[in-house]
């Protein structure tokens, strides 16, 4: 099962992609992007009332939700967001304690996974060069579709040294970039609870569709 674990709809201030446009795009590009579902990880926010079951039924694509928060060790994706987690953390705070996020999110039933670790300033690799490693990290985003040359490659050493699980996500902010990087799970993931369990279980790997997307580009 293949899920894009990192995507931003127009609910994120720097994205211009309506959710439904993502779904239409994936439906149309199914042969190129075999994505079974996406996880919306909006910047610094959580809308407890959002319900996309109707869109899931209409497009046959799983829609899960998480969040991308900002900490003293860079950005972190939070999966399994619940009321306890949102009461504990103000997602709009750009100076959260990464250790507290990782430890408390885990304790409260979720998973906190550093994203784009190879990116300057907001990626884990740079912070590990001068600060102690975080306790409790189980996985990092080894493949990020928005990263620049060398940034994804930088993460390999981090994963090997610390034994982190490796997943992938597009970090899409545009419709046409959804699904270009994703995660292949050995097990079925149909809910946020199953996603959290799967990320803790380690039976997954990043998948990269960027080359075939580039190869398929043509002119109108």
């Amino acid at each position: 099962m293949i899920l894009d674990l990192h995507a931003h709809s127009d609910a994120s201030e720097d994205s211009r992609a309506p959710l439904e446009s993502y779904l239409k795009w994936l439906q149309r590009k199914r042969d190129l992007l075999p994505i079974d579902g996406i996880v919306l990880t909006e910047h610094r926010q959580w809308d407890a009332a959002a319900d996309y079951r109707d869109l899931e039924d209409r497009y046959g694509i799983l829609i899960l939700r998480g969040a991308e928060v900002e900490t003293d060790y860079g950005h972190i994706l939070v999966y399994g967001v619940n009321d306890d987690i949102t009461r504990r953390f103000d997602f709009t705070n750009v100076r959260l304690s990464a250790q507290e996020v990782v430890s408390e999110v885990t304790r409260l039933g979720g998973v906190a996974a550093p994203c784009h670790p190879g990116r300057p300033t907001i990626g884990l690799c740079e912070h590990y060069e001068r600060k102690p490693p975080l306790d409790g990290v189980v996985a990092v985003e080894a493949l990020n579709g928005g990263s620049r040359r060398g940034e994804n490659e930088r993460v390999q050493g981090l994963i090997e040294r610390h034994g982190y699980g490796a997943f992938g996500g597009s970090d899409a902010h545009l419709v046409s970039l959804i699904g270009i990087c994703a995660t292949e799970f050995d097990d079925d993931v149909r809910s946020v609870e199953q996603l959290v369990a799967a990320l803790q279980g380690g039976r997954y790997r990043p998948v990269d569709f960027r080359e075939q997307v580039r190869a398929a580009r043509g002119g109108a």
Partner: protein, 139 residues
């Protein structure tokens, strides 16, 4: 230039790309025409004095280049909205590729509209500027 009809366009279609390299002089020319007095757009020396690596291309020029994708694509196309995020510095004397892909089309009583993703990238495929455009196309 003949007019492309709405029916002839499909989601996923890519517009003809623009490949160009801006000279420092072209960047200065745009900055002057657009009333942008910043030294960073005028010369390497002035830009470096501001802590930049050298002369940079104004974001407004990137947006103007995006608009050329549409004005050069089909007669009668009307750009209704254009947006851009400036992700990284764009420098003169660097080959650039500017592209657009249709991501949505919708027809209504008010007209026929396309939504497009926009990308300005360097030769290494790094996306320096990204954006979207809404355009109206004749039926």
């Amino acid at each position: 230039m003949s007019a492309l009809s709405f029916d002839a366009v499909d989601v996923g279609d890519e517009l003809p790309q623009l490949e160009l390299t801006l000279s420092g002089e072209q960047v200065r020319g745009y900055a002057q025409a657009a009333d942008m007095p910043g030294g960073r757009f005028m010369s390497d020396e002035a830009a470096k004095a501001e802590g930049l690596p050298g002369q940079i291309v104004p974001g407004n020029l990137s947006v103007a280049l995006f608009s050329r994708l549409f004005t050069g694509w089909s007669a009668g196309v009307r750009l209704k909205r254009i947006s851009a995020t400036f992700r990284a510095l764009v420098r003169p004397n660097v080959p650039l590729r500017i592209s657009a892909v249709v991501t949505e089309k919708h027809a209504s009583d008010h007209g026929n509209f396309l939504e497009c993703d926009l990308v300005l990238e360097n030769a290494e495929g790094e996306r320096l500027v990204t954006g979207t455009a809404s355009v109206e196309l004749p039926g």
